[in-house]
Amino acid sequence: MTPLLEVRNLVKEFTRSQGLFSAPSVVRAVDVVSFSIAEGETFGLVGESGSGKTTTGRCILRLIEPTAGEVRFKGEDVLAFSRARMRAARRDMQIVFQDPYSSLNPRMRAGDIVEEPLIIHRTGRKVERRARVAELFELVGLDPTQLARYPHQFSGGQRQRIGLARALALNPSLVIADEPVSALDVSVQAQVINLLMDLQERLKLTYLFIAHDLRLVRHICDRVAVMYLGKIVETGPTESLFAAPAHPYTRALLSAIPIPDPAVPRQRIVLDPASFDRTAPLREVSSGHHAAV
């Protein structure tokens, strides 16, 4: 079966000018990354800040242009799409951002924010669109009588629901969720996570889930990839990766998770960057579980 999304040897370089007289430096934010996601799956991308997770997500949607590599969505080569074809494809691939405060236009009413993608993609007549917006509000647990409110009149969790309703407006099959709950309060995080799981079941969504919180990733992802300095150093089924991490970076990362149980002492593993070869290719360590060791 062809995967819904397939990323092959993706590279993204940024050049940074270093002042007038020195040559600009090149940062490889994404350094030859490959993975694929099957339909209906939740695939987690984890790693420390700056490891290239967001950049990977943005390249897939061509919000920024990759330097090299291949992105295939439903078998088609996304990077070869014309602008018009890309715009159409975006109906089917949506992104939800980390920050519910800055990702919504503060001057637009919540209902209009959710309706906007329908207008851009010329979907339905006015009445149909308004009905769809009300339906989306209910879908994500917002009160449809609050359509006319502005973003600042909603709480963080509600704003994240508005972002989600907007992302779902065009019935996408893939949702890239970039740290969708990390800006939210713990109690509200749980509400939004439950909602994401409910929506996946009801709408048969596929998620690329970018996150810092490994407890969360373990809870909701079917498979995980661990990024370190632009590369995937380990990937596999969540259970197998958490139970038997093979890469030193993964081990260090997992050992750093604070355990909410004072009776369990933590055994922290400190990463020694000299202890592994950064150029080692991924190899299979158990069924479907690969590590660069």
Binding site: A190, R215, R218, I257, P258, P260
Partner: protein, 338 residues
């Protein structure tokens, strides 16, 4: 651990903000204590009043905010009555405050070394001659690699974790006896968070610090705390030794927080708390948690519950555990949201 005489005792602290329609409390009748060598964690969601509590202890609440009531006894002195001069001597020298975002607490135009040396000199802990070496030693003490090189770095040249270490080094320059750390790791990656927490624990053991650690992460609480105070909407709603709290959380909010942590069988729904934290100035009249509480019953929305004392340092404000109605200090009447 045997309880020593508390180094810091906060009694009936109420701090709030003057708004158009009156005084709105952000911290309501809060009491707790911390002893040398002891770690008290204050845990709560954003807006629950944790930072305002920390700022109150340091007397750094600025107008329109003010401390309306209470006593803050540190080392036998009531900090709310000492002169500003005395307070300045206490700040930094005896009580250090470490913030969530190290960048705002460091001055971008001076090197890390300059800033540590300055702190040492201001408090008479070093001379112009001895300060540079002491600064290097302090950076070494917080495990910054190549400290003799790093002292000459500016804050922006350090990674987030190193900045937080540098700030901790600076905070410890004068060997304070109490450290208040307000979400010191919230902006950091888990691996760096683990290092910083380990550093704090290690320094605490070596120096016998009293540590008041503010966090919203129950994982951090489980690792660090001796005792825990759970804050909700300005009040401490439950206080307990850490094991007791995790073994048997008594307040429905504490239980809700624990249920919200991802865990259990993968893919199962989390036990989320419904609704959201009430905004400041729009507290419901009775128990502030009532609108979200799955166990709410008759008395809950009428008046705020008082503390039921279980002994052994356990207390909880909830009608499920006793009939107590909050004594004397009724909070100022809630005002309309602006």
């Amino acid at each position: 651990m045997p309880e020593r005489a508390p180094l810091l005792t906060v009694e009936h602290l109420t701090t709030g903000f003057q708004v158009r329609d009156g005084f709105v409390p952000a911290v309501i009748d809060v009491s707790f204590h911390v002893s040398a060598g002891d770690t008290l964690c204050i845990v709560g969601e954003s807006g629950s009043g944790k930072s305002v509590t920390a700022l109150s202890i340091m007397r750094l609440v600025e107008p329109p905010g003010r401390i309306a009531e209470g006593r803050i006894i540190f080392n036998g002195h009531d900090l709310l009555t000492v002169s500003e001069r005395e307070m300045q001597a206490i700040r930094g020298a005896q009580i250090a405050l470490i913030f969530q975002e190290p960048m705002t607490a460091l001055n971008p135009v001076f090197t890390i070394g300059n800033q540590i040396e300055e702190t040492l000199r201001v408090h008479g802990r070093a001379t112009r001659r001895t300060a540079p070496q002491q600064a290097i030693d302090l950076l070494a003490a917080v495990s910054i690699p190549e400290p003799q090189k790093r002292v000459r770095d500016y804050p922006h040249q350090l990674s987030g974790g190193m900045r937080q270490r540098a700030l901790i080094a600076m905070s410890l320059a004068c060997e304070p006896s109490l450290v208040i750390a307000d979400e010191p790791t919230t902006a950091l990656d888990v691996t760096i968070q683990a290092q910083i927490l380990e550093l704090l624990r290690d320094l605490q053991q070596r120096m016998g610090l009293a540590l008041l650690l503010i966090t919203h992460d129950l994982g951090v609480v489980a690792e660090m705390a001796d005792r825990v105070a759970v804050m909700y909407a300005g009040r401490i709603v439950e206080e307990a030794p850490v094991r007791a709290l995790f073994d048997d959380p008594k307040h429905p909010y504490t239980r809700g927080l624990m249920g919200s942590i991802p865990g259990g069988a993968p893919g199962t729904r989390l036990r989320a708390i419904q609704g959201t934290v009430p905004p400041l100035g729009a507290l419901p009249p009775g128990c502030a948690f009532a609108p979200r509480c799955p166990e709410r019953f008759d008395p809950c929305p009428k008046a705020p519950p008082g503390t039921t004392d279980f002994g052994g340092g356990r207390g909880v404000k909830c009608y499920l555990h006793g009939p107590a109605v909050e004594p004397q200090v009724a909070p100022p009447a809630p005002v309309e949201r602006v």
